[in-house]
């Protein structure tokens, strides 16, 4: 039996594989911008809405508003009309103007709390993660703080202090700090066991350098996502505090205040409550969508959903 290398092959004696049809429709490839929108619709939607609200807050005086504090006893409790788009309250103040200006209060509290609690939480988390003896102490303290429901904690703080925007931000910040600290501590602990951090420590790199080079860049993504969610919950908390009378002083138009003022009349004059409620819900929704989008975009491994 002899074997031979294939002789001069011609098309006729070649075995050709049968060409098979495609069983799935081809997948359309889009441009980078459209791909981004298609993959992160919540991110784009949330960011867009939030941008619009920031513009509203900044441009409030030029959006056809009146002085939100101007009393007009002659025009009390007018339903929405061409003159007063959202109607007037029991003191005759223009609800549209108050709601538009209220955007400022809500965004200020939201951004203020997320910034402050991130910074303080970052500091606490870093100390707890790097200074071993302090870890147990700090974390037990955080456990204690965390076991007080945030709304009650903020209420307790506000009963003992003068109602002002700054105090509201502080009170909510204190309620949110444990969450950020735990997150940062978790990241620090998981990173500290990484071989490259061990190597850096073994090479005598000083702790601040390790923190700046290896730890901080890795905390950025989870912290941004967390800060977004904190922003949303701070806005709701502010509204709750104002609504129960422990929040921003009535002189500042905030959505919670407007709703608190409309509370007694909601069965007969529902519009007083309706418009601030609509704005508040939209804003919180925008921030939450942004948070969901950021989480998916920053960490593709994470399961979409929570």
């Amino acid at each position: 039996m002899t074997q031979f290398p294939s002789p001069d092959r011609t098309m006729a004696n070649l075995a050709v594989a049968e060409a098979l049809p495609d069983i799935l429709p081809p997948i359309r490839r889009r441009g980078p911008v459209r791909t981004f929108i298609a993959r992160h619709p919540t991110l784009v939607l949330g960011a867009g809405l939030l941008l619009l609200l920031v513009l509203t807050a900044v441009l409030a005086p030029w959006l056809g508003t009146l002085d939100p504090g101007a009393l007009a006893p002659a025009r009390r409790l007018r339903p929405p009309s061409g003159n007063n788009w959202f109607g007037t309250d029991q003191l005759g103040r223009d609800i549209y103007s108050r709601v538009i200006y209220g955007t400022r209060a809500s965004l200020m509290v939201g951004f203020g709390v997320s910034l402050l609690s991130s910074l303080v939480g970052l500091a606490i988390g870093l100390v707890s993660g790097f200074v071993r003896w302090s870890d147990g102490l700090i974390m037990r303290a955080m456990d204690g703080l965390m076991s007080i429901p945030p709304v009650l904690l903020a209420i307790a703080l506000m009963t003992l202090s003068r109602g002002s925007m700054g105090n509201v931000i502080l009170a909510i910040t204190i309620a949110e700090i444990p969450r950020v600290s735990r997150l940062i501590r978790g990241v620090v602990l998981s990173l500290r066991d990484q071989p490259y951090v061990d190597a850096a420590i073994a090479c005598g790199t000083r702790t601040p350098m390790i923190i700046f080079r290896h730890i901080l860049p890795n905390t950025l993504a989870p912290m941004t996502v967390q800060a977004t969610y904190i922003c949303a919950s701070a806005m709701i908390l502010e509204a709750i505090l104002s609504f129960v009378g422990a929040g921003t002083p009535p002189s500042i138009p905030s959505w919670g205040n407007i709703m608190a003022e409309g509370r007694a009349l909601w069965q007969v004059k529902p519009y007083i409550v309706f418009f601030p409620a609509l704005f508040l819900s939209t804003t919180v929704l925008a921030v939450n969508l942004l948070g969901d989008g950021l989480r998916d975009a920053l960490d593709p491994r994470m399961v979409k959903g929570v």
């Binding site: 039996m1 002899t2 074997q3 031979f4 290398p5 294939s6 092959r9 070649l14 075995a15 050709v16 594989a17 049968e18 060409a19 098979l20 495609d22 069983i23 799935l24 081809p26 997948i27 490839r29 993959r39």
Partner: protein, 329 residues
């Protein structure tokens, strides 16, 4: 008629980057009581082929086309409900990683009995008795006590025995074993292979054995099919494949086996490896899929995809360059 006849099987997945043609035009058959091994590197479509046989590819992920005839019935045409009554009953599967393949929060007794209650309508007590019997069969001591155990309380080898007990509980006619020994210690591997051979004789099921371990192939299989980049590139009876591999890819695979004692002979033989890597399946490939890594590839190989042709009786390969046995004149 063969027990299983697969023709032009295609399994394609949707991915954001394009369609992944994981299995493209694979045909083979398995006779009653026979063991067919499917070999190839990881990512060559072996596992996808086995999942396709059971129709375990979720429709949201991809599509299966071609024909899979089991005992004369076309599985791809069956309604899902009838397919479910075949899974775990007529065809069952053993997976690679026994720790993750067993449900950690259910007792092994429940997991064995579940199939029996489902397919044979046994009562809980009957299923329990049969589960104990199955555990005895796969060589687990104190079965009556062990059925109340959770998977994490058993060793790796025992877990794989439990997997085998689950797979064989309903006396299947076809057993698909997807890398059944890869995750186990070498000594345990041998025990599990012995067990499978022994049980195969007793139960008489045909086996489709998926592996990348040619040692396991030599020990277990009667026929071998080699896959590369989602295609079948060679098929032959096991002895013949080891003796005269026809496809350059198969020769590469065989060359990659470390041989015992090679370092003692003084010749520092390097473990052969096949240069290059498996081509991306997300674009249509013109010509032979192996051409990019093949030392013999020429212009024809790069332009015309080779079909399977008979290189010797019972020996098929898809290669323009492969030697053909001259027909006796």
């Amino acid at each position: 008629m063969a027990l299983l006849e697969v023709e032009n099987l295609q399994t394609h997945f949707r991915t954001p980057e394009g369609v992944n043609r994981a299995v493209e035009g694979v045909s083979f058959h398995v006779e009653e009581g026979e063991t067919l091994a499917i070999v190839g590197e990881s990512g060559c479509g072996k596992s996808v082929t086995s999942m396709s046989l059971m129709r375990l590819i979720p429709p949201s992920a991809g599509r299966i086309a071609g024909s899979i005839r089991f005992d004369g019935r076309d599985l791809l045409g069956l309604p899902e409900r009838e397919m479910r009554s075949i899974r775990g009953n007529d065809i069952s599967m053993i997976f690679q990683e026994p720790l993750t393949s067993l449900n950690p929060v259910l007792t092994i007794g429940y997991q064995i009995g579940e199939t029996l209650r489902l397919h044979q309508g046994l009562s809980a007590a009957e299923a329990r008795a049969k589960a104990i019997e199955m555990l005895t069969l796969v060589g687990i001591s104190e079965p009556a006590r062990r059925i109340a155990c959770y998977p994490h309380e058993l060793s790796g080898g025992m877990r794989q025995r439990v997997m085998i007990a689950i797979a064989l509980a309903c006396n299947p006619r076809l057993l698909i074993a997807d890398e059944p020994t890869t995750a186990l210690d070498v000594t345990i591997q041998a025990q599990i292979l012995d067990l499978m051979r022994d049980l195969k004789q007793r139960v008489g099921a045909a086996i489709v054995l998926i592996t990348h371990d040619l040692g396991v192939v030599a020990e277990m299989a009667e026929r071998v099919m080699v896959m590369y980049a989602g295609r079948k590139v060679e098929e032959a009876p096991v002895a013949q494949l080891f003796k005269t591999p026809r496809h350059p890819y198969t020769r590469g695979l065989l060359g990659a086996i470390p041989r015992l004692g090679s370092s003692l002979t003084g010749r520092q033989e390097r473990l052969a490896e096949i240069p290059g890597q498996v081509p991306s399946l997300k674009n249509r490939i013109t010509g032979c899929v192996f051409a990019g890594r093949c030392s013999q590839a020429d212009e024809i190989c790069r332009t015309i995809a080779p079909g399977l042709e008979t290189k010797a009786p019972g020996h098929f390969a898809a290669c323009h360059q492969a030697l053909r046995e001259e027909a006796p004149s």
